[in-house]
């Protein structure tokens, strides 16, 4: 018990420290992340780092649906795969330039997102989970069997690398930087979206949809728009992923992969951007560290989930709003300052 309270104290202390020094901490972290590819030549490290970045983007997209809208979606891998396949087919069959291919992958994924959202999001609760679970499997089966389009289980090889204005980026370092830029843009976008009126209504629907309706929020519309945005992000990063790894295979986009993303964001914290970062990075690196027992990875995931649900049901950083913590500290300090000066007058 006592030990627990010490831990708790240390944790709140850490949170408060981070909340009060957000800008310098962010600056150091950003510098580190930018400097990272220039500090190492190790291809393997760069690849893991790039995968981390891609996973964070997918985690953010999933968190929009699961964390902020509160409906579990198993479609992450499906939209990611649709984006990867559509983008690749756009580039290799239709002769699109690399960036247009990414936009194409994004658009196709968004279209499928809309198709799912139109009938399903009229309902609340687990219907979306069930539909997306099926959808993910359908997408994988189509990828596997539509041989003419996707080459089925052979996968698509030799996908041309990302090229911007005629310059081809083949090195791991360049791709890391591109992934970093994508992540940066997506993070800013998601952050602004969440802090906007739209984000507020999204969270209102999650917490109490009948009250949200009473306040005049168009619940179905907000949910649909949000779901499509999530699909668009997945599709774009999917097309980038294909051009980065240059080989795609249906098994990369199976429904089990969707579950991994769900685990990542639950681990990090539903409805938290720093939590998404933490969860995705931790659970991308962890399996790499346990490579020798890879087939037991899901076992460890399962154990991790049980432990998390028991002790931190909100995830590591679930519903932690650093801005709010900061405001509260400042308020407390100003109150203490008033008290202090009041005491001074008395002397």
């Amino acid at each position: 018990m006592k030990k627990n309270s010490v831990l708790k104290k240390a944790w709140t202390g850490l949170v408060e420290f981070v909340a009060m020094h957000q800008i310098p901490i962010m600056a150091v972290l950003i510098l580190l992340v930018i400097a990272f590819p220039f500090m190492t030549d190790n291809k393997y490290l760069l690849r893991i780092a790039t995968l981390c970045l891609i996973n964070i983007v997918l985690g953010l997209a999933l968190n929009l649906v699961q964390g902020y809208m509160g409906q579990m979606s198993f479609a992450t891998a499906a939209f990611w795969g649709i984006g990867a396949y559509a983008g690749t087919i756009g580039v290799m069959r239709l002769g699109m330039p690399s960036l247009l291919g990414m936009a194409f992958g994004m658009a196709v994924a968004g279209l499928f997102g809309l198709l799912i959202a139109l009938p399903t999001l009229k309902l609340k609760g687990y219907y979306l989970s069930i539909v997306t679970m099926g959808f993910c499997e359908i997408v994988r089966i189509v990828e596997m069997n539509w041989q003419d389009l996707t080459r089925g289980s052979l996968g698509i090889m030799n996908i041309p690398a990302v090229s911007i204005f005629g310059f081809r980026f083949k090195s791991g370092r360049a791709n890391y930087i591109i992934a970093l830029i994508i992540l940066f843009v997506v993070t800013i976008f998601v952050k602004n979206l969440i802090n906007s009126n739209f984000g507020l209504s999204l969270k209102a629907i999650r917490d109490d949809d009948s009250a949200a309706e009473t306040m005049g929020i168009n619940i179905v519309h907000v949910k649909r728009v949000n779901f499509v945005i999530s699909a668009l992000i997945c599709g774009f990063v999917g097309a980038f992923y294909a051009q980065y790894v240059s080989f795609i295979h249906p098994s990369s986009f199976a429904s089990g992969v969707s579950q991994e993303y769900i685990v990542m964001i639950i681990f990090g914290g539903l409805g938290s951007i720093p939590g998404t970062f933490l969860g995705c990075i931790a659970l991308t690196i962890l399996p790499e560290l346990m490579r020798s027992l890879l087939q037991y990875r899901l076992l460890i995931y399962g154990a991790l989930m049980v432990i998390m649900m028991n002790f931190m049901p909100g995830g590591l950083l679930g519903n932690l709003d650093l801005g709010l913590v900061r405001k509260k500290i400042l308020e407390r300090r100003s109150r203490e300052a008033v008290k202090g000066s009041g005491g001074g007058d008395g002397e």
């Binding site: 507020l200 209102a204 917490d207 009473t214 929020i217 168009n218 709010l324």
Partner: protein
Amino acid sequence: MSILSVKDLKVHYGGIQALRGVSLEVDEGEIITLIGANGAGKSTLMNSIMGIVPKAAGTVVYRGEDITKKETRQIVKGGMILAPEGRHIFPGFTVKDNLLLGGYYESAAENEKELETVFRLFPILKERIHQMGGTLSGGEQQMLAVGRALMAHPKIMMLDEPSLGLAPLVIADIFNLFGRIREMGVTIILVEQNARMALKAADRGYVIESGRIVTEDTADNLLHSDAVVKAYLG
């Protein structure tokens, strides 16, 4: 001039008739109250006027415009809002975010101004501005629900059981503010089981019984009418 007129409104829940043809007229600047027992159809009436519950028959005319078939959000934009039964504030939102959600369709500048108005009315909310809605006391939560409704710049504010589960002193505090809210140009429709409090605050009252309006009169007369005293004031 009547700002809201409801004619022969009927609502079914499955096979059950919750409203069997309710008509009422509300004049601008009035405080009217609907009193009735549990299950009489008071909340159903509010919810169906707001378009949350589908209407089976009847018309609702608001400021000369037929809003019978409009969706809730259009009605809210038009200036009618409901502070729902049981308050339904967002426990995981700060007080400020709760209030901002009420001003969902207003501009940021407008919301800033309106926040000040709400804080003048309920100074306690300003002290609690960064606190989570769920950590407020029942009375404060009710104030928050009223404040949130005010953020939408309503012409008509409907309050469904604002006294629910509150201490008598707190109820009195809240009811005393209705006069000031009326001065801001808001017409108030008050749904209450606490008939005495409601009739004291209101100008006129309707008594609703199993989906029908059975009596309509000024609040004073209702307070002294034998039937009402017997049935609701005890």
